[in-house]
Symmetry: D3
C-alpha cells in the first residue's frame, strides 16, 4: 500500500508540476480518502503500469476529458500534464479539434478554453523558472 | 471538395481495412451525405491534418469512445484502426483500463468487450491473408 | 388526473401509431406506474401544452435523443412519431446530420440506423394500410 | 392538481431547508411552469410515493447527480437535502467515492467540491439556529 | 473552400448577431483552425444545406444542447440564434421544459438559466437598436 | 494486495450470486488486469469501506447506472446485487422511476427493462434453490 502511494505521488508530481497535485490537495479537507485513492489507484496502480508510454497516457486522457465535456478543471490539469511529458501545444490542439468529431463542437470549443488556461499556466511557470533577463 | 473526398477515402481505407468503411457504406441507403461528411470532413480534413501522428490520433479516438460509452460499433472499428496504424493490443488494453478512471468501470468493461471483437476480426483478417500452413 | 391520462393516451396514439404505445405497454408488467407517468406527465402535461407545435416538439425530441446517443428504442419511436405529425424523411436526416455537430459523428451514425428502422416500420405500416395493387 | 402542488411544496421545504426551494424559485421569472412541474411532478408525485424511504431517495439522487457530473447546483442542493433527512456527512462522502467507479474520478472530485459547499451551507444554517453560547 | 467560409460566416452573422461569432472569435488565439472548421463545416456545410428550415435547425440545436447539459455558453448563443430566426421566447421555454423528459430536470433548470441570460442579451440588443422614447 | 483481492472476491460473490462475477470472469481472456482491478479496487477497497451500509451502496449504484443509461449489463448485475443485499423489487422500481427526473424517461424505461431481466434471473435462481413443491 505505502508503495502505491509513494509511486503515485512521484508520478503525480512529475506530470502535474502545476495544477494536478493542488487539485488532489484541495480534496484533503472534505474527502481525503478520495485524494488518496486517486494517488494510490489512479497514479500508483494505473498510470505506472508498463505497456503504454506516459506520453500516450496523457494523449488518451486529454482526448477523453475533452470529449466528455464534464471535467473542465481536470482537463486543464491534464493538458498541463501532457505538456510536462512532451506532448506539444500543437498536438494538444489537434487532439481537441479531433474530439469535435466524437464529443461535438461545443465540447471541443470548451476544451480549447481549457487549453488556453493550461498554456497560460505553463507560460507563467516557465517564466518563473527562468529569471534570466530576456528569457 | 473532390480532393477532400479522395484524401479521406484513402485514409479511411488505410486505417479501417476492416470495419470502418463498411460502417460508412452502411449509411449509403439512409444518409449518404452523412457518410460523405464523415469521409470528407472527418477523415479528409481532420485526420489528415499535420501536427499529430496517425498513431496518436487513434489512441485519442479509442480513449474518447471508450470513455463516452455510447458508440460501441465505432469503438470496435477504431480499435481495428488503431491496430492498423501500429498501436499494439497491449497498448489498447492499457488505454481501456485507464479510461476506467475517467468514464467509470462499466465503460471500461464494455470497451474491453469491443476490444475482444476487434481483436477477433483482426485475427480473422490476418489468417485470411496468410494461408500458408503453420502461419 | 383521469384527464391527464386520457389526454396523454390520445396524443400518444396520434404520434406513435407504431412503436411508442407498445414501448409504454411493454413496461406494464415491471413498472406500470412508470408507464402511467410517461402518459400522464410526459404526454398529458408536457406534449399537450400550448406554445409549441407538435411538429416542433418532435423535431426537438428527435434532435435530443440523437445527440444523447443513449436511447435507441425511444429514438426509433420518436422518428416514427415525427413522421406521423408531418416531419419529412429528408428533414429527419437533416436533423440527424446536424446532430453530428453536437453529439459527435458516432451518435449521428447510430441515429441514422434508428432512422432506417423507423422508415422501414413506416413503410410496412403504409403498405399494410394501402392494399391496392401498385400503391 | 392543487393537491400535488401542496404535497410537493411541503416535501421540498422539508428536504431543502436551504438551496432547493431557492433554485426552484429562481426559475419563477423565466420558466414558472418548469418550477411548478418540478414541485408537482418531481416532489408531489414521485418523491412522495410510498415504497422507498426518503433517506433512500436522497442517497439515490446524490449518487446519480454525482455520477452524471452535469448538475452541480442541483447536486449541492440534494446533498443539503440528504443531510436534512438523516444521511450523514460520512455517508455522503462514501457515496461520492463510490461514484468514482461509475462516473469516473473527475466526476467524484467535482462532487466532493459540491459536498464542501453543501456542508458549509449546513454549518451556516446550524450555527444560525443555535445562538446559545458554546453551541 | 473559400465559398464554404463565406457562406458559413454570412449565416453565422445572421443567426448570432449576439454571442455566437464572439464565441468563435474567442478561439482565434488558441485554436484558429477549430474556429474556421466551425464556420466552414458547421455553418457553411451543414446549416446551409437545403431540406430543413433554419428555424427548425435552431429548435433542434437548442433541444440537443439543453438535453446534453454540457455546453452552457453554446446553448446561450443558440437560444439567441433561435430568437434571431423567429423562434419565440415561449417556444424556447417549451422546448426546454420538454427536454426535462429526455435530459432530466436539472438539465432543464440549467437550460432555463441559459434562456434567462440569452433573453437579457436580446433585450439589451433590442433596446440599443430602438432609442426612440417609449419604444 | 492479496488481502484486497480476497476481500473483494468475497464481497463480489455475496452481492452478485448471479451475474456480476460472470461479468468479471468474462474479461479474463481480453483484460484480466481490468477484472482484477474491479475486484481489488472496486470491491476490495471501495465497497468494503465502513461508513456506508452495503444496502445503501447498492441503492446508489443502481441509481447512478440507471441515470447514466450507458451500462445496461452492469445495471442488470447490480439490480441482482441489490436484491441480494435486501433491497426489494418495489424499492428498485421506485429508484428507477425517480431516475426519470435526473436521467430522463428513456433512461428510466431502459432501466425498467434491466430490472425485468434481473428479476427473471432472480426468479430462476430462487426456483432452482427451492425445489420443494409449492415453494
Amino acid at each position: 500500500m505505502d508503495d502505491r502511494f509513494a509511486r503515485g505521488s512521484e508520478l503525480l508530481n512529475q506530470i502535474h508540476a502545476g495544477g494536478g497535485d493542488r487539485l488532489v490537495a484541495a480534496l484533503a479537507d472534505v474527502a481525503p480518502d478520495l485524494a488518496r485513492a486517486i494517488i494510490e489507484f489512479g497514479f500508483g496502480e494505473i498510470y505506472t503500469r508498463p505497456g503504454l508510454a506516459l506520453r500516450d497516457r496523457q494523449i488518451a486522457t486529454v482526448a477523453a476529458l475533452a470529449a466528455l465535456g464534464t471535467a473542465q478543471p481536470q482537463l486543464i490539469a491534464h493538458i498541463e500534464g501532457a505538456l510536462a511529458v512532451g506532448v506539444t501545444r500543437t498536438e494538444i490542439i489537434e487532439i481537441i479539434m479531433q474530439m469535435a468529431l466524437y464529443g461535438g463542437f461545443p465540447a471541443a470549443m470548451n476544451a480549447a478554453d481549457a487549453a488556453r488556461t493550461a498554456f497560460a499556466a505553463d507560460d507563467a511557470r516557465t517564466q518563473g523558472q527562468s529569471p534570466a533577463p530576456g528569457a
